[in-house]
């Protein structure tokens, strides 16, 4: 393995992903540094969610290499569960465990994976819930929370594993407009803590505010990437311009 692969937090090389005859990711190469906040934008069907899901192997790469923290996760022999402990993921539809209250949602993984005792996990969960402003909901069930609250819990739950990478798959797309802000605020706080983050979103304003780099994907390729100013204000590629004209 090259020194370069280890230096970068995430290294993606010639990644291809097909679902049957449908080729969703055609040839993706990408490097993400430690502490970098990368926002991925693009039209639906462009492969951005699939790329994100390949990074923690929720989708198996068809070809290519993905190195996370020096571990090649496309290697079948790698214990992916161990790698995932360091990669938090937040989903569009929250995916809180419906059979448990909020506290149990938070402590399930840390206690099941023997990261700490139940008391320690509970303390940490309380701190995390406090951080996202939901300490009073510890005993509630997911069905009793609003969308925005659920997503804040989902972020806090991922943080309980103390990951050093966080993946966000359209975290605000399923929310009512008035709840988007509260979730983005929690995410913004995270960027200030130096977390490596990859965010798939349609929130262009948010991208401009927090991203170190914005990536525009279309048709299974990375079409263009750059700083938010470069990409969002002065796109070079016609396809990027076209997309931004439609969403801005």
């Amino acid at each position: 393995m090259d020194a370069k692969d280890i230096e970068n937090k995430i290294h993606v090389e010639n990644l291809k992903k097909s679902f049957g005859p449908l080729e969703v990711l055609k040839d993706i190469s990408l490097d993400i540094r430690e502490g970098e906040v990368v926002v991925v934008i693009g039209p639906s069907g462009s492969g951005k969610s699939t790329l994100l899901r390949c990074l923690n192997r929720l989708e198996e790469a068809t070809a290519g290499k993905i190195v996370v923290d020096g571990t090649d996760i496309t290697d079948k022999k790698v214990n992916i569960n161990k790698v995932r402990e360091n990669i938090g993921m937040v989903f569009q539809h929250f995916n809180l465990f419906n059979n448990m209250n909020i506290m149990d949602n938070m402590i399930l993984a840390p206690t099941q994976l023997d990261k700490c005792t139940k008391a320690e996990a509970t303390d940490k969960a309380k701190a995390m819930l406090d951080r996202v402003g939901l300490i009073d909901k510890a005993e509630s069930f997911p069905s009793q929370l609003s969308g925005g609250q659920k997503q804040r819990v989902a972020i806090a739950r991922a943080l309980c594993m103390e990951p050093d990478i966080m993946l966000f798959d359209e975290p605000t797309s399923a929310l009512d407009p008035e709840m988007v802000g509260e979730v983005l605020k929690v995410m913004k706080d995270l960027t200030e803590g130096g977390m490596t983050m990859v965010i798939v979103t349609h929130e262009m304003g948010f991208a401009r505010e927090v991203a170190d780099r914005v990536i525009f994907m279309d048709g299974g390729y990375i079409v263009e990437e750059g700083t938010p100013e470069e990409l969002l204000l002065n796109p070079k590629e016609a396809r990027t311009k076209d997309f931004l004209d439609k969403v801005l």
Binding site: M89, N95, F97, N101, L108, L113, M161
Partner: protein, 223 residues
Amino acid sequence: MVRIITVYGGLLLSALGRTLLLALLGLFFACIIGLFFGMLSVIKNRVCNIISQIFVDAIRGVPMIVLAFFIYFGIPYLFNTIIGGFNITLTALQAGTACLALNCGAYMSEIIRAGIQSVDVGQMEAARSLGLSYGKAMKKVVLPQAIRTMIPSIINQFIITLKDTSILSVIGFPELVNTAKNVQANTFMAFQTWAIVGVMYLIVITILSRSAKMLERRLNVGR
């Protein structure tokens, strides 16, 4: 009617006890078989999926009475006579339990498969993304939710299995129907005998379905 109850009541009650014993044994093994084949049908492995499907199709495609004869008479004949060198005899209870377990197990397997598939895949993905293994995610997150939706169908299957024990009178197990046939033969009081037997089944099954309703309500707390 009164004479049957006073003279044969005890006999019929002990036959009901054997019916329940047979049903319980059958259901116990059916749960294991059902969970096993149900899991085989949901894991990501083509061979396992196909094995499970073949099992379910085979059992569902054969009437239970044929399965009962096949196990009770066919299997010992296969080993003792066709292959030779064995001396297998199955008791009616053993054959009956196996028959119920296989039959009910196939249906349970389908109920469990449907129950697991009814849980949003996002639940499994979220658990896996936190680093939990497939098994732990299944046990802690998916199955508890699947069971809630499975409960009504499982109870229904339990009731069907309890009633299906009557089919096993054909291999001579002295359960309720078989015993009642003897009572009728002794007394010639067909109407009274079968009315009593019908009411006995009715009472047991009503108790079962009522307690199932209560269980369902309790499990729905916090949903």
